[in-house]
Subunit: 361 residues, 2 copies
């Protein structure tokens, strides 16, 4: 058997201990808005080996503030021996266009050597998917065995299946929806306003080392409020005070839940760009999938009883949309008290369901 | 029959067209924190006439950002011929201590002629009730026929019944709870942080004409997100665009729901003080009613199926607490798609229930 040198090279690149995050220049990208981005870079990671038949590739799509390191943030489902099995599958995960974890986004340097800032165009989920498609083409994958994503990642997965029909055999879509409700847009808008009403936002053209950190932290707190649910908050924190036995009657931290939210907010400002949050929330607010009729994909939709941000009825609607389109499709609702975060935490139910999806002929 | 001159004077003062909002100086107030406030003022309104037997008074308690004008914000339940009937009852409503609609709060001028700002002490629901008790004593009401309140107002009503047992015959408590869950504290903390992380907050000592308006507007948006529910947001706004038929791909308003939230946020900064929001949210986060066992009040608790901020189980718990304490008590859950706001909007079910409560011997 003769080894394809290109493939061999590709395989060598997939050793995570050696290579970690890689970057691919995909050239200019025409956007759905009519704008054009020059010199777009996609940051990505791969694990495992593309089979000679090139039929074992799985693309993992991250959620709002995620990155290409799927074996980190989705370690319950992605890794050696996991449902998305890096020993058997060729697993690819890319940071989205507009993000700030290696792919081109508002904090990237434009051709003048300064951050795009306010010059970064508003993008769509479709634009993100078009960028990913160039990466998948570059990696030599003619058809994905599967695409998997939760929340925003689920929207990318859905878009893939209608934008590039025939390119995705199976789709695992968890805690997601076909289009944001007014409430979901509302939470995103409050987060955007927290940033844009911070005086340090400067219309988007802040210095990267002195951005609207206060507003960005508040935006993240709003996010965390929507990621959990009452039960999860009660189980994690109850009314416990933070390192004290009595109220101290001041405006600082009194309750553990306050400490948690402030910690999450502050931590977020160290790893995420404010303009990126504006751009990616805008993209998912725009997303409005009307039909799956071009799709040839088999779908598995998962939702959670306590996820009020992406409630079950949105997955029920997606499943109906897939069946109407003539696709094989199923929906599983999982009863767990973790709110929207459940899609990152649950492997006990999601795991076997995902394995069954991938195993089906 | 000889007319009590004091009573007559009181009755004359209750003509709303003549007097509107009044102020009562209640002197110094010792607070639960151990601090003391000098020269406390309570702003209030009254409607109707105190009966000779002084047994027809109803105290109405407003929610977080309300004021003494109950016939305005609760016009569905309070007014001539309404369940709380200003033709038959002597209706009293007072702005809470710590508020900014006439009662002493952080924006009030301290003895040095400057706003309290950061010098305003942290207060509790009990402090608010103690201030109200002085007003009720001043008005010559030995025992309230009833106390009525929703949300934060329900907490004041509950506190009244155990702090001043024998002073309240009936309590109508809607969309409220015995203690905030971690989630409820979390929403309040995000709102507080939106204010306190605004550079213009200045530790609480901002000029009143140039306060942390950006943060305050965001705090209000967070509030509105919690006052509605997914169904209400969808019914009001859906995914309708704001005065356009296509996306315009910018960071300004695209969707109607965004316009609504920004409008509500901006409007709020014209009528409410940022420090007041910090103080009153803190007070209700502290509130933690453990028992009603000292109470002699008859309770009616109301909750709403779609109110996820003060969910039904909190009213179920309150009803059980009242029954355990040997009080007459009932709980009604109302199925309406308005979220927490339902307590302000519903008269069809709340009205008859409230009338029945007031009519029972």
């Amino acid at each position: 058997m003769q080894i394809d040198p290109g493939l061999f090279q590709e395989n060598e690149r997939t050793q995570p201990t050696v290579l970690g995050r890689q970057s691919l220049s995909i050239g200019p990208l025409d956007l759905e808005s009519g704008a054009r981005l020059e010199d777009v870079v996609v940051a990505y990671e791969t694990w495992g080996t593309l089979s000679p038949a090139r039929d074992n590739a799985i693309l993992v799509c991250h959620a709002l503030t995620g990155d290409s390191h799927a074996i980190g943030w989705w370690s319950r489902l992605v890794g050696p021996g996991k449902p998305i099995d890096t020993d058997r599958h060729y697993v690819v995960c890319a940071n989205v266009l507009g993000g700030c974890q290696g792919s081109t986004g508002p904090a990237s340097l434009a051709s003048d050597g300064k951050p795009y800032g306010s010059r970064f165009p508003i993008i769509t989920v479709g634009d993100m998917v078009n960028a990913q498609k160039r990466l998948i083409d570059h990696l030599g994958i003619p058809c994905l065995l599967a695409i998997a994503g939760g929340s925003m990642g689920g929207m990318l997965a859905l878009d893939w299946t209608v934008r590039y029909p025939g390119s995705v055999r199976k789709a695992f879509i968890t805690a997601s929806g076909a289009a944001h409700s007014a409430m979901q847009i509302g939470f995103n808008e409050a987060a955007r306003q927290a940033i844009m009403r911070d005086a340090k936002w400067l219309g988007g053209d802040y210095p990267l080392d002195e951005g609207p950190e206060g507003g960005l932290a508040v935006a993240r707190m709003i996010g965390h409020l929507s990621f959990l649910c009452e039960e999860a908050f009660t189980a994690k924190f109850g009314r416990r005070l933070q390192g004290k036995s009595h109220y101290e009657y001041h405006t600082g931290v009194e309750f553990e839940v306050e400490s948690y939210l402030n910690y999450q907010g502050d931590k977020f400002t160290k790893r995420f760009d404010a303009n990126s949050l504006i751009v990616v929330t805008r993209a998912i607010d725009y997303f409005d999938l009307k039909t799956l009729k071009r799709s040839t994909t088999e779908y598995l939709f998962v939702s959670y009883t306590t996820d009020w941000l992406y409630p079950t009825h949105q997955s029920v609607e997606l499943n109906a949309m897939a069946i109407t389109a003539g696709c094989r499709s199923s929906h599983v609702e999982i009863d767990l008290p973790f709110g929207h975060d459940a899609f990152l935490l649950d492997a006990d139910v999601q795991g076997p369901e995902l394995c069954a999806l991938l195993a089906r002929e």
